[in-house]
């Protein structure tokens, strides 16, 4: 903002709810123990592979992208996934890389959306394979050449060469590539300074959606590995609520149960975004 930041009483009034928020969330549940536990469980599960359907275990272990998506852990019950569709008609003649899940295939998506407009990110669909014109598994340059003129990476000043930030039209798209240069994760956020809306899933969920809307659209949501591991906490999505779409993790993050979704994370590798990309 170009305006001068608040001072004195105005600043203190601003800080009070911020401090309360910070302390409310300063509990052991946001430690790495959840992820560690998940990994440990995954290792145990691998040892049981072959005996009792070890696909569950495979999904719990973060793995490097190898050209094919590693299937995220399926839930214990059959998933009732909303119909996730690619973003309508592709705008490029180039074939879009399609990720092939290694275990139970998800239902064949049926598009209920009109073809998207490249210049309008609000028409892009977040699926398990792509966000609008950007496909998971594709090479960064090939997937982002269409973005220029719509989103800009001019403010992307991250020292991590595997992370790039594309902003514009109410959308912040973060692209994470693997060591081979292929895109393995995408993050979608909204930008506050515009009324333009960011992309959403086929179910209409995106940054700005309420937790109630999210739960209604995805009844199979489970907590991500970075969420509260305490089973007594039943409705705190802080850290992300995850589902599986097209064989990829699709995770919705909020600042708390009373806050809207602020990030949608799609990844073939991790079920939640990292705490930082650059530092």
């Amino acid at each position: 903002m170009d305006t001068e930041p608040p001072q004195g009483d105005d600043l203190q009034r601003m800080l009070v709810p911020m401090k309360r928020h910070v302390l409310e969330h300063a509990t052991p549940r946001r430690s790495r123990r959840g992820r560690t536990t998940g990994i440990a469980l995954g290792i145990v599960g691998v040892l049981l592979l072959g005996a009792t359907g070890g696909g569950v275990a495979l999904g719990l272990i973060p793995t490097s992208f190898t050209g094919q998506a590693q299937a995220p852990a399926p839930s214990d019950t059959p998933e009732q996934l909303p119909s996730e569709a690619p973003s309508g008609a592709p705008v490029s003649d180039e074939p879009t890389p399609v990720l092939t899940p290694t275990s139970t295939p998800t239902p064949t998506p049926t598009s209920t959306r009109p073809p998207y407009s490249l210049s309008d990110p609000s028409t892009w669909t977040i699926s398990g394979t792509e966000v609008g014109p950007v496909a998971l598994g594709g090479q960064l340059d090939a997937e982002t050449d269409d973005l220029r003129g719509v989103l800009s990476d001019e403010f992307s000043s991250c020292s991590n060469p595997r992370a790039s930030f594309w902003a514009g039209k109410g959308t912040l798209l973060t692209i994470i590539t693997g060591a081979d240069g292929r895109i393995e994760s995408l993050s979608v956020r909204g930008l506050a300074e515009t009324t333009d809306r960011p992309p959403t899933t086929a179910a209409g969920i995106g940054p700005g959606s309420t937790v109630a809307e999210l739960r209604a659209a995805y009844p199979d949501l489970r907590r991500s590995s970075t969420s509260d591991p305490d089973p007594a906490v039943t409705d705190d999505p802080y850290g992300g609520l995850t589902t599986t779409v097209d064989g990829s993790f699709v995770t919705f993050s909020t600042r708390g149960p009373d806050f809207p979704v602020d990030e949608v994370w799609v990844s073939t590798v991790d079920d939640a975004p990292p705490t930082e990309y650059c530092n």
Partner: protein
């Protein structure tokens, strides 16, 4: 004990052990300056709030593995604030702009801390890399759940001295 007189490393060690009061004191100490930096990155006050809150969230989450190059936590917090802003609002102005509302605070820092802030916040260098650039050695502060027997006497080390 007058908490205002407690140094950052002690508060960080207590935070590492899960002491929320220590986190609260670090918030009181540094949230105002972080808010003024976040204000530059943000398009709205809500965005600025979110950046600062997520910065302290990262502090809480990562306290047990945090490595400091100096006795002040502020350079690390500012570097993290910048990173949070980059990932959440995608907008980090280049040049000296990010520090324009905290110039007095930065100028009052030690030379090492000032250089760390400039390199991390203005140049976008990761904290550890910026410390190495300056010939500083980063040192682990402690492990969550294990109170250290002896606090490091000196957190600032240059060229191993």
């Amino acid at each position: 004990m007058d908490e205002d007189a407690v140094d950052d490393v002690t508060l960080l060690l207590r935070t590492t052990a899960g002491d929320r009061d220590a986190l609260a004191h670090l918030f009181d100490r540094y949230a105002p300056v972080l808010t003024r930096v976040a204000w530059v990155f943000a398009a709205t006050p809500d965005e600025a709030r979110g950046i600062v809150q997520d910065t302290f969230g990262a502090l809480w989450d990562r306290a047990d593995s945090l490595q400091l190059a100096t006795a002040s936590l502020l350079p690390w917090l500012l570097a993290t604030c910048r990173d949070v802003a980059q990932r959440t609002v995608g907008r980090v102005p280049a040049g000296g702009a990010p520090l324009r509302w905290v110039r007095g605070t930065v100028d009052a820092m030690s030379a090492d801390d000032r250089s760390l802030c400039e390199r991390c916040v203005v140049d976008g260098r990761p904290y550890a890399d910026a410390a190495r650039d300056l010939g500083l050695t980063v040192a682990a502060v402690g492990s969550r759940g294990a109170r250290p027997v002896q606090r490091p006497r000196k957190a600032v080390m240059r060229d191993g001295h």
